[in-house]
């Protein structure tokens, strides 16, 4: 049986030593490559600036106010889109205005993406590219330079005290390097393995969803995982009414977008959020604008597809209301004392239930279970003369001697996928190798 005491001595403390090692050795930075990137990014940025000015005239692109004046004033781009909002059970037309809570114009990523998708003005994409270049430049090009220690490495600092148990890094925060776009990948090219060593990257595939399927004993999702089916395509199939085989056949083609919507919905259920959150995520990560009514339909579709999930969430609600806390599989508790207030607001309750259920699912999987596996892996790794390179969420990066790569890959796969108390399911892992972070 796991409890807080065991969790502390067997996972938290030893895991802290794993993180200590990563910090101590750090990662080698390819300085030439960094210089190259700097030049490249600065050049691209200048060019984008020029192209943007052709639309907006000379403005300060870092000033939201000037940018808003240019977009909604001079260029005459409408400062809203038509959407729907739910009022009680009815969907009513709703003017989604591009404004902050205080009433001034907003030109954040979500707004720019809405302009790009709905109003289809070409300047939006240019600004988006310019922004992400600027962020990368300031955080990971100029920003990184100051963290390179005189041993040529960066020693990022790990913070273990997060509510879910997943460590975060700072100085620099490597989690902020965008993984989805080309530019983010370029940044990762500057982190290289030590001479004679190869980076092995391992990632649990759909770990949280598998935990959800298992804990909720969902009659559809659980067998789907066991039979090696693609859960995102199953959701796509029911939400859009297309046979599963057809979705699978078009999963990288005609049905790619639909599957992306379904996949994003699947993750939304785990990480928590409303239809408005789903809309934002589809925009942010997929450049897709879907109105709120449709987003809400996706969520309903999810619950129709997996009948075990809603009762599971009810159970979480019951538990957190009864105890005032939620315990994950390892005994880690998160307290929600205010759940016992008699006049608890409905929105507060649902936010508590979301946090409680994510504490159970994420906290047990990519939180404490990942840490347990990292500790186990570290022991074997040391016996091979290797070490951890980095940990990002549930992804492990390790360094092993070039000659050991194949042998270690097999061992690593075995260690990581083998279920260990209290987890009863097999978790498949994806393993990649390379000499640079970008290659894995």
């Amino acid at each position: 049986m796991w409890n807080e005491k065991r969790l502390f001595y067997e996972i938290i403390l030893p895991f802290s030593r794993v993180l200590e090692d990563i910090e101590y050795y750090g990662m080698i930075v390819d300085k030439e490559k960094l210089e190259e990137l700097k030049e490249d990014f600065e050049k691209k940025s200048k060019r984008l600036e020029f192209e943007i000015f052709e639309h907006t005239g000379n403005i300060n692109l870092n000033s939201s106010k000037q940018l808003a004046e240019a977009l909604f004033g001079r260029l005459g781009i409408p400062d809203y889109i038509e959407d729907f909002e739910r009022e009680k059970k009815e969907w009513i037309p709703f003017k989604d205005e591009f404004r902050t809570e205080k009433g001034s114009h907003s030109v954040d990523v979500v707004v720019l993406k809405k302009i790009k998708e709905i109003h289809q003005h070409p300047v939006a994409e240019l600004i988006l590219q310019y922004r992400s270049l600027q962020t990368l430049l300031s955080k990971f090009v100029y920003g990184l330079e100051k963290y390179i220690h005189n041993d040529g490495r960066i020693h990022s600092s790990f913070f273990q005290l997060t509510k879910g148990g997943r460590p975060e890094s700072s100085k620099p925060n490597l989690l902020q390097i965008p993984s989805r776009d080309k530019l983010g990948r370029k940044i990762k090219e500057i982190f290289i393995s030590d001479e004679g060593y190869t980076i092995i990257h391992m990632d649990y595939s759909a770990m949280e969803l598998r935990f959800l399927a298992w804990l909720a004993k969902d009659p559809v999702m659980l067998p789907a995982f066991e039979n090696g089916k693609d859960v995102h395509s199953i959701t796509t199939s029911t939400v859009f009414g297309i046979p599963y085989e057809e979705v699978m056949a078009g999963k990288d083609g005609v049905h790619k977008t639909k599957r992306f919507c379904a996949k994003t919905t699947n993750f939304l259920i785990i990480f928590g959020g409303s239809y408005a959150t789903l809309q934002e995520q589809l925009l942010k990560y997929g450049d897709l604008y879907i109105n709120r009514k449709e987003c809400s339909r996706f969520i309903e579709g999810f619950y129709d597809t997996y009948p075990g999930v809603a009762p599971f969430q009810k159970k979480v609600e019951y538990l957190v209301k009864t105890h005032g806390y939620m315990k994950n599989l390892f005994g880690r508790r998160r307290y929600f004392d205010s759940v016992k207030n008699d006049n608890l607001d409905n929105s507060v309750l649902s936010s508590i239930v979301r946090k409680a259920s994510s504490h159970l699912i994420q906290g047990s999987s990519s939180g404490d279970y990942s840490a347990l596996k990292a500790v186990e892996l570290d022991k074997v790794l040391k016996s091979f003369g290797g070490r951890f390179f980095n940990i990002l969420y549930d992804g492990f990066y390790v360094l092993v001697k070039d000659k050991d790569v194949n042998e270690f890959k097999t061992i690593m796969g075995d260690i990581l996928s083998k279920p260990e108390d209290p987890v009863k399911i097999i978790l498949p892992v994806d393993i990649k190798t390379g000499k640079k972070w970008s290659e894995v």
Binding site: L13, S16, Y24, D151, K171, Y335, D337
Partner: protein, 390 residues
């Protein structure tokens, strides 16, 4: 009950917009007071502090912790309603009424400071964030032994209901009560030893070798482990006792070795031997100390317990810096550290940087041992609690 303030006050511009001067409410025999920012709309209208919804929240929290709201004093930083609840520089004149109020409360021990604006008002600081000041008690030189204890302002709970903040807010009163009770018990004086000559160093290292369990803490020049130079080594293996010896020290403004090479080697060799043995070492955020040792000497610590990690595991809603955990768990030690910071006049930002340049060696060592001492005591408390969770 007394009321302190002047209904005809014209010392600042607030007199033009107020309806009433909301005088402080003083219970002369009280040991507890709360300090808010200033009157809100309801208070301005009625002329009484803490009568609005935020005041209601405050009183509920007092009740929940067994404190009768009519037993304590209610103070405000400014006695007239500030427009938009914003403080301006010239309002500081109102400190006069705060100080007059103090004179009427001879037994006052703790003042709970509600919200970051009242904190800024009373400390004179221009920058502060609630998340970093919450629950860290402090004293101010000009107010002697009165302990100030920052908590969220109840109005924060009204704007944006957040269950974690609510729990922290209510919990703050419990901790305040415990600190108050603890301040009344007389306890044994600390026995902190500074090791400053080679003979004492030999003895200290030998004694250290014999310990099976101790707490360990480094004072250093930087929060970044690979840039940090060690100022002092601090150990404790018994409540209220501890030893410390310097490593680098400030000599005429320069960072220099305190010891000759022979002693330095002895320190490094002995610690290497101790830390590679089966000794049980407890720390507060020991990952940092271990990294500093590794970067400086090539060896680290096998940590057997860590108070920061344990306290976070036991309640992730609470702050986990050493001063905060100490205030919660060893209330009689609350505020000791702030006397230290006051003595060198360091604000939060400076604490992170060059604080060590301003401090005497004696104070530096005392400070370090105190950290080691409370870490040792917290370990006992937190380990017991970990054992007892069902």
């Amino acid at each position: 009950m007394l009321r302190i303030g002047d209904e005809n006050c014209t010392l600042c511009s607030l007199c033009e917009t107020r309806i009433n001067v909301v005088k402080n409410v003083i219970v002369p025999e009280t040991e507890i007071a709360v300090l808010g920012l200033g009157p809100g709309e309801n208070e301005d209208f009625e002329g009484t502090p803490f009568v609005g919804r935020a005041g209601q929240k405050l009183k509920e929290a007092l009740y929940k912790n067994g404190i009768n709201p009519s037993d304590i004093s209610y103070l405000n930083s400014v006695l007239c309603r500030p427009p938009n609840n914003k403080l301006k520089k010239d309002y500081i004149i109102c400190l006069k009424y705060f100080e007059e109020s103090l004179k009427e409360m001879p037994n006052i021990k703790i003042i709970m400071v509600l919200g970051v604006d009242a904190y800024k008002f009373i400390t004179g600081k221009t920058k502060a964030a609630m998340s970093s000041i919450y629950s860290i008690p402090f004293k101010l030189e000009k107010y002697g032994d009165i302990l100030f204890y920052p908590n969220y302002h109840p109005a924060a709970l009204l704007y944006k209901p957040d269950h974690i903040i609510e729990e922290k807010f209510v919990g703050g009163f419990r901790i305040m009560k415990e600190m108050l009770e603890a301040s009344k018990t007389i306890t044994k004086k600390n026995n902190y030893k500074h090791i400053l000559n080679p003979e004492h160093l030999d003895i200290a290292l030998n004694v250290l070798k014999r310990q099976e369990f101790f707490s360990f803490d480094l004072e250093t020049t930087s929060l970044v482990p690979h840039q940090a130079k060690i100022l002092s080594f601090n150990f404790s293996w018994e409540e209220k006792t501890g030893i410390a010896f310097p490593y680098y020290y400030i000599n005429n403004g320069n960072l220099e070795y305190f010891w000759e090479e022979e002693q330095r080697n002895k320190i490094i060799e002995t610690l290497k031997e101790i830390f590679s043995s089966d000794v049980k070492v407890t720390t507060q955020n020991g990952k940092y100390d271990s990294l500093v040792l590794k970067h400086n000497f090539g060896f680290g610590i096998k940590i057997a317990f860590d108070t920061m990690l344990a306290s976070f595991l036991l309640d992730s809603n609470q702050n986990f810096n050493l001063d905060s955990i100490t205030a919660r768990e060893i209330p009689e030690e609350a505020g000791v550290k702030s006397e230290f910071w006051n003595s060198i006049n360091a604000d939060e930002e400076q604490r992170k940087e060059d604080w060590y340049l301003k401090i005497s060696l004696e104070d530096l060592l005392d400070y370090g041992i105190h950290d080691a001492d409370v870490t040792y005591r917290l370990t006992k408390i937190l380990a017991r609690r970990l054992n007892n969770v069902e």
